[in-house]
């Protein structure tokens, strides 16, 4: 089944197969492909399958629809055609190569010799690189090593703790009286573990409830919550400010 591949500046945003059902394109959320950009009309164009031919129709949009640089009203699309709408591009892909890559039936070196339907496919380093390139994804390596790693810090604004400031170097930081706690609470009635903060692999920090439910900027959290610089954490009678330091 051919696919519409929505791109913005060489990144693939999404892929939509063109089956029996037509795919509408526009700014309105009801469309099959939504492009949230003022240059795009609410209902801009549609792509549909007519007896095996993939057709594109512009709904008389203000800024137009361009196929390979030509403004069009209604055309037949073929694999490789590039449709420009606003600053976005939609490329028509004969999706066999993408799917074939995953199931080992494509022209590429097969990933698996004879995989059954639904069987998990593993990509090795080279296959992963090729694959990610193929779908123009940034891949995970780009996320892992940011140029500058910022470290979260907790500054104590009020309450009884053993230090005034804590650098969150560990993946797990516990606030409480427990032996495990980094932010040590004092006082008879302090909980063993009031709250916990996890540093995730993308260097972001999430605070979660333990024996107590912490508040972030005055709101009780209902699930682990990502911390931003300047957030005020209130839990077990102490108040902490979270800040990023280089």
């Amino acid at each position: 089944m051919p696919k519409l591949v929505l791109k913005f500046e060489n990144s693939i945003l999404r892929e939509v197969p063109v089956g029996a059902k037509e795919v509408s394109i526009g700014r309105s959320p009801e469309n099959g492909i939504v492009i949230d950009n003022p240059a795009v009309s609410h209902f801009h164009a549609r792509v549909f399958n007519e007896e095996g031919r993939i057709m594109l129709e512009d709904f008389g949009s203000l800024n137009g629809t361009f196929v390979n640089g030509q403004r069009v009203k209604m055309v037949t699309l073929k694999a490789g055609d590039s449709v420009a709408i606003g600053k976005h591009t939609i490329v028509i892909s004969d999706s066999r190569d993408l799917d074939g890559f995953a199931t080992g039936n494509g022209n590429e070196k097969p990933v698996a010799a004879a995989p059954k339907l639904n069987e998990t496919v593993m990509l090795d380093t080279k296959a992963r690189r090729d694959f990610l390139q193929k779908v123009a994804a940034v891949g995970e390596s780009a996320q892992v090593a940011p140029a500058r790693i910022k470290v979260g810090t907790l500054v104590v604004r009020s309450g009884r703790t053993d230090h005034r400031e804590y650098t969150l170097n560990d993946k797990l930081t516990v606030i409480g009286k427990s032996a495990l706690a980094t932010v040590k609470l004092k006082g008879w009635f302090a909980p063993k573990a009031a709250a916990q903060i996890n540093r995730r692999d993308d260097q972001s920090y999430y605070i979660g409830a333990a024996d107590k439910t912490p508040q972030v900027n005055g709101h009780s959290i209902s699930q682990p919550t990502k911390l931003s610089s300047g957030d005020i954490i209130t839990v077990a009678g102490i108040e902490l400010e979270f800040v990023y330091r280089d």
Binding site: S11, I12, L13, R14, L98, D99, A102, V111, A112, A113, A114, P115, K116, N118, E119, T120, V121, M122, L123, D124, T125, R128, F131, L132, A137, V138, G139, E140, Q143, N169, D170, K171, L172, V174, S178, A179, L180, K192, A193, Q196, N198, R199, R200, D201, G208, A209, A210, D211, S222, Q223, P224
Partner: protein, 278 residues
């Protein structure tokens, strides 16, 4: 800290072999699960090799902490957590060697997820799309991130959860044991509280049941063993398209007989009172 656990593994309703393996090692508070890949016997061999190697390396490390770690030390986590990551790297090497000697020509590999409890800390390490979840109160959280193509696309905001579910590429792993001579391991640590429930599972469970269904079973089932059994049974009833494995872990004092029930009754009364107030 006392730890109650239960584990079940089932071939499911479609596959001929169970390529999942797991080990529970109560004396080390160590729990490991692996989902093998490669078909025929390869997947079974790979997953069994993965769990056995992880347990063996951890046991050696426990007996003699001076045994060097394999691979880079991960900063900001304990020795125990580093040992788990090291064990996974050793397992990767073992599966990778086996895969190269494998005469069927089919790729061979495995996922792995492992946890170890030490006092109030749980060490967690994984590769692939086998998952660890934690139920704490009303919050049911996936503690691992899948090393799959669609999960990566979702993290980058390129796919919605719905698109990921229906994607033909949902079965593509971008990290697995055995594929390359070296593997990057995700490792993290969690605080352990009495009343938490931790679940390790293969994708055969999560493909059939939603997070809220899984959370409901964990919430409503008192015994960890019974919870593991119910999860696997439900996944089979839902189709059982893949092998299904679940390990349910309940840290804290085991609620024994009447005393435990009184505790739960007390909580129920308190919860009801709170519901009433709203």
């Amino acid at each position: 800290m006392e730890l109650e656990f239960g584990a079940r593994s089932d071939v499911g309703c479609v596959r001929e072999n169970n390529e999942d393996s797991y080990r529970v090692v109560p004396d080390l508070n160590l729990f490991v699960l692996s989902d093998g890949m490669g078909g025929l016997e390869c997947g079974e061999v790979a997953s069994r090799m993965a769990v056995d190697t992880v347990v063996e390396h951890c046991r050696k490390g426990q007996e003699n902490p001076s045994i060097p770690l394999t691979g880079p030390r991960i900063e900001g986590v304990s020795e125990t957590t580093n040992r788990l990551a090291s064990a996974i790297r050793v397992a990767n090497g073992a599966v990778n060697s086996a895969a190269q000697q494998n005469s069927t020509g089919r790729p061979m590999g495995a996922t792995v997820v492992v946890v170890q409890f030490a006092d109030e800390r749980m060490s967690l390490a994984h590769v692939g799309d086998s998952r660890a979840y934690r139920l704490r109160g009303d919050d049911f959280e996936q503690l691992t991130r899948d090393h799959s193509f669609v999960a990566e696309q979702m993290r980058q905001g390129r796919m919605t959860a719905q698109e990921a579910d229906s994607s033909k590429l949902h079965n593509v792993l971008i990290r697995a044991l055995g594929v390359d001579p070296e593997v990057e391991v995700d490792a993290s640590e969690e605080l352990v509280l009495e009343g938490d429930t931790v679940l390790l599972c293969s994708d055969g469970l999560t493909r059939e049941l939603t997070d809220s269904q899984i959370a409901a079973v964990l919430r409503e089932t008192e015994e960890a063993d019974e919870a593991a059994k119910r999860l696997v049974d439900l996944a089979k009833q839902a189709g059982g398209g893949d092998n299904i494995t679940a390990i349910v872990l309940r840290p804290g004092e085991k609620p024994v007989g009447a005393l435990g029930r009184v505790g739960r009754l007390g909580k129920w009364i308190k919860d009801s009172a709170e519901r009433h107030r709203r």
